[in-house]
């Protein structure tokens, strides 16, 4: 698999797994409006994932479909950022996870709109509009929860500290990132950090939340090395599809 294809798969899987996590919420959110809001974000991410997976399948050139890639790969073949496979936790934890990713995806898609890969640029142009809305949603809730009550403040501060260690991966370049950056297909990951930090900092300070310190341990979901949680996500997501090999739905 070429670095180009691996890179597209990383983007696809990050959106797919996050869409799957948000899908767990639907019908169980704190208010009807949040059921609708989380479903919207989930649907957008799923739409992005489908476009990216289909494109990755074309780049791979083995005749696989979006569903083959989503349902028939093993855990170590999934290349999503480790952050998105983390459990939903409470609503605050879901919002913090969403906020950290939204701010990153916004930086990323803004860059990718100008990518030398026209397909990726096209997908990014659609996704960037959706992501602006996602960030408005998650940042809006982060401010409400950070500022709201002592309980809500403590819960989201805790969630931030829990999830912060997974953000390092988003900005740490490896060989795949170097290749796509050199070809002008994708950004150098570290180049997204200043914009991301500024977005995060502005919202956190407005909600009385403290930026956690950076920890040394690095996660590598994008290389297929996952936390304990992805296996469960996939076991659930793939169960029916795998139980009926070759069936059409």
């Amino acid at each position: 698999m070429t670095p180009h294809c691996r890179y597209v798969l990383r983007l696809a899987d990050t959106s797919l797994i996050l869409a799957q996590r948000l899908g767990e919420w639907i019908g169980h959110a704190p208010a009807i409006e949040e059921d609708l809001g989380l479903a919207n974000v989930s649907l957008d991410l799923l739409g992005q994932a489908r476009m990216l997976l289909s494109y990755a399948a074309e780049l791979e050139g083995r005749g696989r479909s979006e569903d083959d890639l989503a349902y028939l790969r093993e855990e170590s073949e999934f290349l999503n950022a480790t952050l998105v496979e983390q459990p939903n936790g409470d609503f605050g934890q879901t919002i913090v996870r969403q906020f950290l990713i939204d701010a990153w995806q916004l930086e990323l898609y803004e860059w990718l709109q100008e990518s030398k890969d026209p397909r990726l640029a096209e997908i990014a142009a659609k996704a960037v509009k959706e992501t602006r809305y996602h960030l408005r949603y998650s940042a809006g809730w982060l401010v409400r929860l950070g500022d709201g009550t002592e309980v809500s403040h403590a819960r989201v501060q805790d969630a931030l500290e829990r999830l912060w260690p997974f953000t390092g991966e988003l900005f740490a370049a490896d060989a795949v990132d170097h290749e796509v950056a050199q070809a002008g297909i994708g950004p150098a990951p570290e180049s997204l950090l200043p914009g991301w930090s500024a977005r995060i900092g502005a919202v956190l300070s407005g909600s009385r939340l403290a930026v956690p310190p950076t920890t040394p341990f690095g996660w590598h979901g994008k290389r297929g090395q996952h936390s304990e949680h992805l296996g469960h996500v996939l076991a659930e997501m793939q169960s029916l599809h795998r139980a009926h090999p070759g069936a059409i739905w």
Binding site: I26, G27, H28, E33, D35, N40, S152
Partner: protein, 333 residues
Amino acid sequence: MYTQGLDSLGKDCLRDEAQDIGRLEQRFQARIDAEEKIEPKGWMPEAYRRTLIRQISQHAHSEIVGMLPEGNWITRAPSLLRKSILIAKVQDEGGHGAYLYSAAETLGVSRDELIGQLLEGKAKYSSIFNYPTPTWADIGAIGWLVDGAAIMNQIPLCRCSYGPYARAMVRICKEESFHQRQGYEIMLRLSRGTPPQKEMAQQALNRWWWPSLMMFGPSDAESKHSAQSMRWKIKRFSNDELRQKFVDFTVPQAEFLGLAVPDPALSWDEAAQHYRFGAIDWSEFEQVLKGHGPCNRERLEARRRAHDEGRWVRDAAVAHASKQAAKEKSRAA
């Protein structure tokens, strides 16, 4: 505009209340008979208001509880396309719930109050959602049969005498008809699929057929609210008429799928141009209604859990909003 005549009459009411209420009721009924819409600010009999609050809130609760059996398959949908359709559908149901609670609020009751009644187990919702969805085919069967039955019930509601409810139903019916088609499409794929897929579809039809017929409510002779609701044009067709229409519509669809309707008494009556079907087991309906269905407890528990676990979130939103309002106020001062 519709309410002008009644409002001016309302001011005169003080002289002789009993006599004037009689006159108001007459004029109210005359407007209904003339197919005029009743609007929130117009005069309406208390019983009409109560009937509508009961019906609209039950409908809203059904949409919200109805998200649960289908939500059960979002994470396991067998293709990404099916997953996105299902998310969109369950999201629609949530939207219908929100929309209907708003329609109920025009009658002077709050959404919080209505949701409180649901969570305390005082309010009803459609019994059908107390049945489980053990397989993917149940998602197809719900769309095809349950949403199909709901459409039969709801299309006449687009002409309901109460304006806000009637208008809400126009949009809801459009979305429901999309839901019905996606459900039928799932069933079609399954019934044309592998033998295990076809068996899954047949089992789901077996599970959902009778509960779907029960969705139309007790037979006309037994239905306690029907006559008055017909006079008020909240209801346009009787339970039995709608049920017959549903059976006539659905049996040929089952035949097209190559699936067997689980009713040995089912037959075509050439003279009447209707399908005749077997007796409905109303004792099952009564049991589910009383809370003894397979999932009554689970459904309410899931709603209560979401409500309880979301309380800190709603509290935070309220606290933040009042802090913001206080800041605005001090800035303005």
